[in-house]
Symmetry: C2
Subunit: 198 residues, 2 copies
């Protein structure tokens, strides 16, 4: 069975404005609502509607109120993604050489829906370099003898491959260490690509 075809174009033919799901560990920042507002403002400046994981879900099923909080959040985020035309992920390495796990899950979810996925990162070094630095090795394997994937990509090949196959871009750019979670230049470059895609 072939993989999902690359999206032939954004689904915004039936909407006035493209809706973009803003995936990322930004929800863990000290003031996540202010952060979401900043990201959405960048979207609005380009005629895009940014959708944050923190947004209320307009038509949330009443019985979700009975779910444990974590499961309700998971369902809501899946519904937000399903209601968007594209996904833009903050793939800045998070507590290890790869991006935040929740963000990566969401990127895979949107990819399976056949819609375009985009990524940005405030670290330019490629995945292999970051993994070697994390493991403290210089060769092809880590201390457990496990292979270090080395294709000069921005993260694991499933992530980078999905972005490319879907017609998205993955923008990476170094910033000052204390601006890793505040600098938005790579995000804005990525959003420009989203806005020019439609």
């Amino acid at each position: 069975m072939p993989s999902p075809a690359p999206a032939p174009g954004c689904a915004n033919v039936w909407r006035d404005q493209m809706r973009v799901y803003l995936a990322g560990p930004d929800v863990f920042l000290p003031d996540p609502l202010a952060r979401a507002a900043r990201l959405k403002a960048c979207c609005a400046a380009r005629g895009l509607v940014g959708v944050s994981p923190l947004d209320a879900l307009a038509d949330e099923p009443a019985d979700w109120a009975n779910l444990p909080e974590a499961l309700r959040i998971a369902r809501r985020n899946e519904a937000h993604i399903a209601g968007c035309d594209a996904l833009v992920a903050n793939l800045t390495p998070f507590r290890g050489p790869s991006a935040d796990a929740g963000t990566v899950f969401e990127l895979g979810f949107m990819r399976a829906l056949g819609r375009p996925v985009f990524g940005w990162s405030n670290m330019e070094a490629d995945f292999a370099s970051r993994t070697r630095a994390f493991c403290g090795v210089a060769g092809e394997t880590d201390p457990d003898g496990m292979l270090i994937e080395d294709f000069a990509l921005g993260d694991n090949l499933m992530i980078a491959g999905a972005i490319l196959a879907s017609g998205g871009v993955f923008t990476r750019r170094d910033v000052a260490q204390d601006e890793i979670w505040s600098d938005l230049a790579a995000f804005e470059i990525c959003l420009d690509a989203v806005a020019h895609r439609g």
Copy 2:
């Protein structure tokens, strides 16, 4: 828009045997083909067909031969997942407190297809405990001031939530440190749940 409904049952009504995609960083082990054979044997013992990311794709489009290797692997794995009835992921923490990024992508991908996803891990400690240990902190935030998600789950809530919502299970079990990448007891318990689901 509601999230995808939990799969009402495995798709094996139209197949003799349920096909199970075996996601995990096992592909990075020193002898990944031997590992895949071992995982597949565990599946076969339960009447399941294990599908490895390393398997050839029967009907691979001829023009994929022109793709760079990493992108061809990504497309092939997406096609393998789309051709399976369920996914079982090795979610043992990998180079950080979360599971391998490629594995997490694949789990999100299968979840969006509405089919059941399962996970197993050779580390019993919950995600918050592992994250605190990784960051060297005891409180609610990491040294960057970012929140540590704490819902007593096995990994990020998108992962654990998808497994539960899809009707899967997430089996976690401690093993000796030097058997983290060889012990298969948690995998076999997980496979029992897959086999009894159909």
